[in-house]
Amino acid sequence: MAEKNKVPRIEGLFTWPSDQPRLIASRCKKCGAASFPKSPFCTNPDCEKNTDNVEVIELSNRAKLYTFAIQTYPPPEPFKLEPFEPFPIGMLDVPEGLRILGMLTTDKVEIGMEMEMTTKTLYEDEENEYITWAWKPVG
């Protein structure tokens, strides 16, 4: 059986296809404030609202786990995880200064742990596997 295409559930949030996918964010060239998903304007209230000041960046694929929890029951649509099983979700700090939300690949984690970005399959149809970004312990 031929391997299915892996397709992001929502396009444009991380680099794909890629062996080392990274989240796509934006950063202000004046003050350094970063946004994910990318923002047309710098979100610092003291910075001028000029789209020319904002550049698109790819975030580091390493992050530190700030906190996490286990989602035990199935979230409502548009979320789809098939087959459903309880999953861990966390907030992670990347070196660019952002704190980011994301699924974790395992609940064998601790606050403060170094994590690495990967992808996770949410569900599939006849043609494609639909993926999101997720974080796994380094190593």
């Binding site: 559930r9 700030y66 286990i70 035990t72 029951y73 979700i89 606050i111």
Partner: protein
Amino acid sequence: MKNRNLAIVGIGLHPWGVFKDKSMAEMGCVAISNALADAHMKWRDIQTMACGAFMWIADGGGVPSLLLGTTISTMMGRTGIPCANVVNACASGQSILREACLAVASGEYEIAIAVASDKSAGGFFRPQSRDALWDTDYMRYAMTGETNPAYWAMEMKRRMRDVGTTEDDMAMVKVITSQASVHNPNSRYKKVFTKEEVLASPMVCDPLHLFEICATSDGAAAIIVCPMEIAEKFTDKPIQIEGCSVGTASFGDPTIMLTYLSTYPQPGVLPYSESRNALADAYKQAGRTPKDIDIVELPDNSSWHYFTYLDMILGLEYGGSEKLLREGYFNVPDGKVPVGASGGFGAFGEATVAQGLWQVIEICRQLRGDAGGGQVPNNPKVGLAQSYGYAGNNGVAIMSKAF
């Protein structure tokens, strides 16, 4: 407020629960009728109106629920008064009360009503668009599976690590607030819980159990505001509304608020800044400090909220509320500062748009001494009601006894 002292002279509720056969407009009319009766007024006495608009319109209700005040005024009978429909999620109650207060404080109007009605019961909160391009709420569900309780659970997990909150502490929130549930005629769940029952309930989002998270409910509430100098025409027990504020967040807030995928933490910026900002503004308007507060209604959507909001409301150190909880400081009804003496969200369930007004009404009942079997014995003079909020918005109201 600066220009004029303001009084709450009429309060009215539709009970909380599930009312499949009633529209939001019908429930809103019940709340208004009860508030008018409480103030010995007629509908035509109301000069201006602000209404909380229903948020979950993609799930049902459509435009009439988005323009809910207009719909309600049609059912009450059209009198031609101004009506603002306000969408501000959980902070809607304090937002529309603020509109009513500002309308009277400006001197343009003498009698204003804030009304909200809600049918949140029966479903998970979910995104209200199918738009993956502009709606970060859609994105967070689709890409991370983050439900609201998952966010609260992540916060709770971190708090447990930082300040040592225990499983027992979290369960005691429900035990304490549920004491009042059986005495409140408008509560949905009339049951006193034991710690063992709470801890035996299913784990919804580790570390939060089912009974440590509130349900969703239907409900409606209405409040009538007038200048203090004419309050005695309408009531023997006027309640002064000293401050009413709506907060938004500060740049650099370190928490990832609901409906967002990230934040950009900055040194010196504390989390839940929308709530801190609303509190600071309300305290400033009232000329009060946390030491003045005798009774609190807060957004106990979960046990995490209870501790976090008490820290902020009472100006405690991080983790201070767990210590005071263990000492019985917040006990219902007989703590030093009773918290959730209505039964709280645990007994009522979250009726998103209406709950802010309901919280204020519960404070008014206690300040009037009208809470019956649920009356707190500390003779409260000043009370505070704070809501939570989606996406970084929050509402606070401070009331005092004025008779």
